[in-house]
Symmetry: D2
Subunit: 357 residues, 4 copies
């Protein structure tokens, strides 16, 4: 692994697996690309980015004008926990050839999902430095184990909140290697205020929809308790049908249980219900506009408890998937969302409220 | 994963990858097997246990009369870091089928090697409880990253030293889930005192060798700095040749770099040198006798800085592989073992000394 | 691989990957199960049987009351040729552990798909006898290469037609090891005549539909020319919309290109069109009734050119996927199905005709 | 897969797995490289080329001044049949990413080993043309199944003998796509006559050895009957020890059983016996000189029954591994080599004889 002496540019490998991590990595990638005298950027795309059912979101990266150096199929079908493990395995079988070819000085990894663990494991064992984004947070789920395991494999940490920083230090990470930088997607969020949002809202929710008068729903399976999280999703849909407001529902991510959730949507007729619009993927900058002007966001996405705080949009966070995350006052937690009524009541409380931002 | 109510026996899966982890897991496995009213034991064998070059050590497990439920080839050839990552990948592709078949309540994992990370990752993502043996220790190498990552994936911790326990607590593990139990191999060590050791010494080192008058050498590659560790091994052999005492050299483990070290041994003619005996594997109970009565043990094995302390045998610990581990006063650290003279000098200092135990 | 002497039962492993091969293997499996004094049957399920999008067809096997000994996820997501190769690879990484556990005397493999090649390769290299069903046929596509490669790896051949037998002999297979037995699914077909078919037709096509007055469409991607086969599917749907008869459309199989075809169906609104019913899977015995009483079957399924001949139902075979297969006079070939008009014209010619059977 | 129009150079991918296939592929690679106006050459190296125990023979390719575009670890450890299957699987998981990157018009594959089957399978399923070298031969072993399966996956055939050509035609391959070109290594063999061979013989067999007065032994395991082939190797070594001539023994290839054979060599003390020289690898051009001037070659290598015919050196072919291959009159077949005496007798018959060439 010869590194040239003085004028050596830092070779940075950014590996992105899905829509969610790309929204965090993209601002960093733009930053790296803007300094070609210091950095060389290699982009590796894997995971659900390359899967049709998840919207072929690798196209977002092409549209942002990044060269994709390597594409790796890494998802084993099966939609259960076994398939998740096998997918990590598939990534680990394939990544070394790529890393040997690219020879990066550092790899940037985001978050707490199984694909990120594969990336961190391969880089750590191959003696490549790892910069981990958004470590140190605590949500109270299996994601914590993975996020913290990645922290222990990583060498540098860019974290989002004061308490995440403190948690990293508590886990014995070296203070000098932690940067408290805030959430990378906030740059984009904060620069998003004055855009023409009405055409975006019309496009995704229909011509006649007003700001603050629609809902965005985004719920993922909880892999440690799939059955319960599917039940909760069913209750959420029932509550939304009763609540009777125009609602954009995003399909869940690739985790174990997602197929079952899609089946629940079909069973409830969401795809053809006049009040609902069900979509696989909304480009991130448009998604920002949609949540910024929604009457309410509901679900268990980290986006709800994190990014949406930038706009003061009311959020209903269901179940335990984000338990323990720091959230703004705009978030109403419904931890035991086990009846339709509880969820409906939360919708009545939050919908249309305006929190400061 | 139906679990029957009251009379449910705990299904325990013990997965062992090599000679070293088996020496720690065996006492636990005997304990589990002794209580059939409470436990069912499933033994999974993978990694270098199944490889001829590493002594086909799965036979130790058979000789101890355990049923091996599953054998998995998981080592990808290549003897470099890439092959280590791919081997983790291969294990992750294969383990879910096994775990789905065995449906253990808990998996017991030992140590800090790449195979152990594969085991912990698969169990964590499949919602199987993990009991991790010998976490919390600090050695100052890549092993630390892996050991701590496994800690974060594990649910219960059985640790060996007071400071390991404190380090686990510092890393935010729940105190209630940590058991400070000492090193599992100590039971065997301490019960080993009065055996007939002379025949064992004769068998492995020759008829005419006296106690305290031979050396045991066991050196592994350091995967984060392979080149340097091979150089150090070369200097060690030179020093041992000069020192001119009967010496048992064990072949290194399966880590990246081991092939190169074997080549160094060949180049120096160790296999045919009258003073040397080079072997792949010594059964653990015999190994204990050999180190208990040696004039000195040299190398960078964790065994040197840990188990050998039970006998007060002088130990020379070379390089940084065990840096940071707690060691007894019987250990002389030669951190920068970069000349033959330094190592020779250490041999002269330590050989034949008797420390209290 | 100890085999007991005189009273040894033959251990037969049947591995099934999808709806299509199971329809051929099931009659054989029933036969084996009926002779427990001679045979032990192990059933291995892999491939698209275990995938939600393809109807979780492993349930058919459970409903037929076979014990499934092993389930293996073997499909890598990606829906292109690369993913097909990787899926073969995944199967080959996993199958040896299973075969070492089951130690079959013989493995039964059906057909010409990528999963079957994985099965035959693993058995051949592990010195397990292979009985191949439906070899020797010639269709003029990539399937031929795979089918013939499996033939060369196999030891015994059960073929369906006289010309298949002759082709096997021409390829230098030993005549003594070839059994011309006809198509295994014909037993079921021929015993299917007198059942109550009207309720089945009502269930799948609607209350008001009459026999000979509906269409069954089943078209798969052609992996050597995906683009063209998607175009052809689009033209077929257009022709069917124009033709304006009640039509049951089955979703295509897991081959590269299938996702694109599903998208074409969505774009044309087939799922909500009043004349169409789009389904993932019809149980085989019901499917038989549906094609037996259809006005016409259209597509490029081997089922059209083979099984449907048992009923004299008119068939329109599109494109080159079945080129070279022997077919009955009930089949109209439209090799260059490159305009909507050609296909429409074929529908007008064939629909409602009655061929002898 | 865009291909440029008129001036398109043919992109040729040559994939080589080991010393043996490289000796056949190298002359073709030199030929391709000599015509850069027509061809682009991509070299992919995998299999035992990259393994230390097999001599890291990828260095031969570098010494021949070819750029190696991709190196893939594809060998799973285990040295049994299961590991061979898993190695095919590992190659199939990795090759598609490489082929998608290189986008070759044609792939050149040699021979009949498990790695070649992986190459042919991946190319066939990805719609890449395959040129197969040395198909159509018949040896009477498992190699036949693999060789013929590759034939059925391949599109073009370059074969070595008239009867191979006829066998390809018999297997229904298109005559227009078969080129009877002779063995590619013969070019090198025939140009090798006048070199300074004495220094090569001295280097590998010792100073005092005369031409026609030494033996070259090269025996591989037979994977369908490993036990028997190890026994035969033991008898061969006994016979060679009795025969008491200077002998060069090459280590066997990576197939299942090879470890056991190496152990037999160790047990018999071959590595330190004054009459024997045991080596992993001899560069092909030197190997040619050694066999050309040997008193006899013994073993079961295809090289014995094929290349050595170019020099009239006496050959003793043991067992069934090459049964059915066409051989010259210089070859003495000892099919049932089940006693030391039979082999010794053959040595007495053949050693030092001179056949015409």
């Amino acid at each position: 692994m010869e590194k040239n002496g003085n004028n050596h540019k830092l070779r940075v490998c950014v590996a992105t697996c899905n829509r969610a991590d790309y929204s965090k990595l993209a601002p960093i990638m733009f930053g790296i690309k803007a300094e070609p005298q210091f950095f060389e950027l290699d982009v590796v795309v894997l995971g659900s980015h390359l899967i049709d059912d998840y919207g072929n979101t690798y196209r977002m990266i092409e549209q942002d004008d990044f060269d994709i150096h390597t594409r790796l199929h890494t998802i084993v079908r099966g939609e259960d926990e076994a398939a998740m493990v096998e997918s990590v395995g598939l990534a680990l079988v394939k990544l070394p050839d790529v890393l040997n070819r690219l020879k990066p000085d550092i790899m940037i990894v985001h978050g707490d999902r199984f694909d990120a663990l594969a990336l961190a494991t391969s880089a750590a064992l191959m003696n490549i430095r790892i910069l981990h984004i958004e470590g140190g947070e605590v949500s109270g789920t299996i994601d914590d184990s993975i996020r913290h395991a990645i922290t222990k494999l990583a060498h540098y940490h860019v974290c989002c909140t004061r308490s995440a920083e403190q948690h990293l230090i508590a886990m014995c990470e070296d203070h000098d290697r932690i940067l408290l930088a805030g959430c990378p997607s906030y740059d984009k969020l904060l620069s998003a205020k004055n855009k023409d949002y009405m055409s975006i809202i019309s496009m995704w929710l229909g011509e006649d929809v007003k700001t603050r008068d629609y809902i965005v729903a985004l719920q993922h399976p909880v892999t440690t308790d799939i059955k319960h999280s599917i039940k909760m999703f069913e209750l959420t849909l029932d509550a939304l049908i009763s609540f009777n407001k125009r609602t954009l529902v995003l399909f869940p991510n690739v985790d174990a249980g997602s197929k079952e959730m899609v089946r629940v949507m079909r069973k409830k007729g969401i795809e053809h219900h006049p009040n609902f619009r069900a979509v696989k993927h909304v480009p991130f900058d448009q998604f920002i506009q949609l949540v910024a002007h929604a009457g309410c966001m509901i679900g268990n996405s980290s986006c709800g408890v994190r990014e949406v705080g930038a706009f003061g949009t009311p959020v209903i966070n269901l179940g335990t998937r984000q338990t323990g995350r720091e959230t703004g006052e705009n978030v109403l937690h419904v931890r035991d969302a086990d009846t339709q009524d509880k969820i409906l009541h939360a919708l009545q409380l939050q919908f249309g409220k305006q929190y400061p931002w």
